[in-house]
Every structure is written in structure tokens, then in C-alpha cells.
């Protein structure tokens, strides 16, 4: 008779469950853990050779206003000498119709391993930039990007 609760039982459980689910939904994959899709793409690109995070900096806005044109810059820490340089820089995506974005081939005469371009992103997703060094090693940087759309689309 005097059972006054702040909130009835069932809705409260539902609310708690949703909060936990949302919390899990956000945190189920820690930032920069490579998705299965991108892991497979990288394996194919490197021919099975292992990749390591580091040396590569993938510059892209975390929140993108329009996925049609997204500026990116990939920079690799390398002296770019004849004996030690970047041979290739590639970018792959997770959720576009096709995984490849760009593959650049560099020579020591490039001087500085930094490439800028503009890409298309179909939706919010993960991207990876991979650099192949002259010593045969592969280095990566993975980013997560949220893509929004202009409100009045044509």
C-alpha cells in the first residue's frame, strides 16, 4: 500500500539495460582496433607480412560534413634516403563499395613522405593508411571517421 518507488520496476530495468547497451555500443570496439574487414585487406596488400602501428600519421577530420570530399594527409616518419625510405603509401576503407582508396609509389627523390588528397566516404567507418618501407616492413595508422550529410540534399 505504501510501496512508493521513484520509478516503476519494468521501465527502470529497461532504462538501465539501454544505458548499458549504449555504453557497450560505443565501447565494444576500442578506438583503433582494426576491424576484420580492414585486417583482411591489409593481409592481402602485404601478402601476409605483419603490420605494426606507428611511423604513419593519418590526418583526417573525425567529423566530416560531407562524405563527397574529405581532405586527408598521410605522413610517414622517414629520412627518405636511398637506403631508408618509404616505397609506398596506401589507404583503405571499410564501408565504401570498394576497399581501395589510393596507392602511391614513392622514390627517395620524394624527399618527404607526405601525401595529401581528397577522398569519398560513403558512411561513418574505419580507415587505415599503410606505409611500406624499403626494409620491407609495413606500418599503419587506423582512424575512425563519422560522416554526416548536408541537410538539404539535391
Amino acid at each position: 500500500m505504501n510501496h512508493t518507488r521513484p520509478m516503476p520496476d519494468r521501465p527502470r530495468r529497461l532504462l538501465l539495460a539501454s544505458a548499458v547497451a549504449i555504453g557497450c555500443g560505443v565501447a565494444w570496439r576500442p578506438a583503433h582496433a582494426l576491424s576484420d574487414v580492414l585486417s583482411a585487406v591489409l593481409r592481402k596488400y602485404t601478402g601476409g607480412a605483419p603490420t605494426r602501428e606507428g611511423k604513419v600519421k593519418f590526418d583526417i577530420a573525425p567529423l566530416v560534413e560531407n562524405g563527397n570530399t574529405v581532405p586527408i594527409t598521410v605522413t610517414v616518419d622517414s629520412p627518405m634516403t636511398a637506403s631508408e625510405h618509404v616505397q609506398a603509401i596506401a589507404v583503405f576503407n571499410e564501408k565504401n563499395p570498394q576497399r581501395d582508396v589510393i596507392v602511391c609509389t614513392l622514390t627517395p627523390r620524394v624527399g618527404r613522405a607526405s601525401v595529401s588528397t581528397r577522398i569519398r566516404l560513403a558512411t561513418s567507418q574505419q580507415l587505415v593508411a599503410v606505409a611500406k618501407l624499403s626494409d620491407g616492413s609495413y606500418w599503419t595508422h587506423t582512424v575512425d571517421v563519422v560522416v554526416t550529410l548536408a541537410a538539404c540534399i539535391e
Binding site: N96, V110, V115
Partner: protein, 106 residues
């Protein structure tokens, strides 16, 4: 002939690392878009960019449909000798365009 805008320095000191920036007008039709009649528009993209420095390839890139329309590409080159840069874009439907820029290295 597509429009291009190229920024390459006309002069540089020997050994200086210079930035080259290129912009070319091209729709880069991805091959995944539907036209107003509902049918998929066929792919029509630039597939390859090459930069030659005094006839030697120093930098090249393979473009895929995920490269945005009117492709912008910026990269670096070490200025080691006077001469010229030649930039080539090749793509679907026989697209081919070449531009060049001279450089004086002191």
C-alpha cells in the same frame, strides 16, 4: 582537355624539399552512382597520376573511385637539378593529360 591548376616552385635551392600541388577537373564518376533514370552511371575515373622529374618517375599514384571529384594531389620532391616536371593523368575512356612545369635549381 581538362582544366588543371599546378603549384610547383619555379626556383629552389639544391637539396631543398619542395611541395607540388596539383588539381585537375574531372568528375571521377565512381561507377556506383545511379543517374536520374535509375540506371547506374558507368565508371569514368582518372586511374593513374605520374610525376616525372627530368624524365625519371619520382612519384606516382593509383586512384580508385574513392578519390573525390576534381582530384587534388599534393606531394614533395627534392629539388636536385634544374629541368622540368612532367605530370601525367591517365584514366578510363582513353583519358590522358600531360602538363609540365620548369624548375631552376641553384
Amino acid at each position: 582537355m581538362a582544366r588543371t591548376l599546378i603549384h610547383a616552385p619555379a626556383t629552389a635551392r639544391k637539396g631543398e624539399v619542395v611541395e607540388i600541388r596539383t588539381l585537375i577537373g574531372h568528375t571521377m564518376e565512381s561507377g556506383y552512382r545511379a543517374g536520374s533514370d535509375g540506371r547506374t552511371l558507368p565508371r569514368d575515373i582518372i586511374r593513374r597520376f605520374t610525376c616525372r622529374y627530368n624524365s625519371e618517375v619520382v612519384f606516382s599514384a593509383d586512384f580508385y573511385p574513392a578519390i573525390a571529384a576534381n582530384p587534388y594531389l599534393a606531394f614533395f620532391v627534392t629539388a636536385d637539378s634544374s629541368g622540368s616536371f612532367t605530370f601525367t593523368w591517365e584514366g578510363d575512356n582513353g583519358f590522358a593529360q600531360t602538363e609540365s612545369a620548369t624548375i631552376t635549381v641553384t
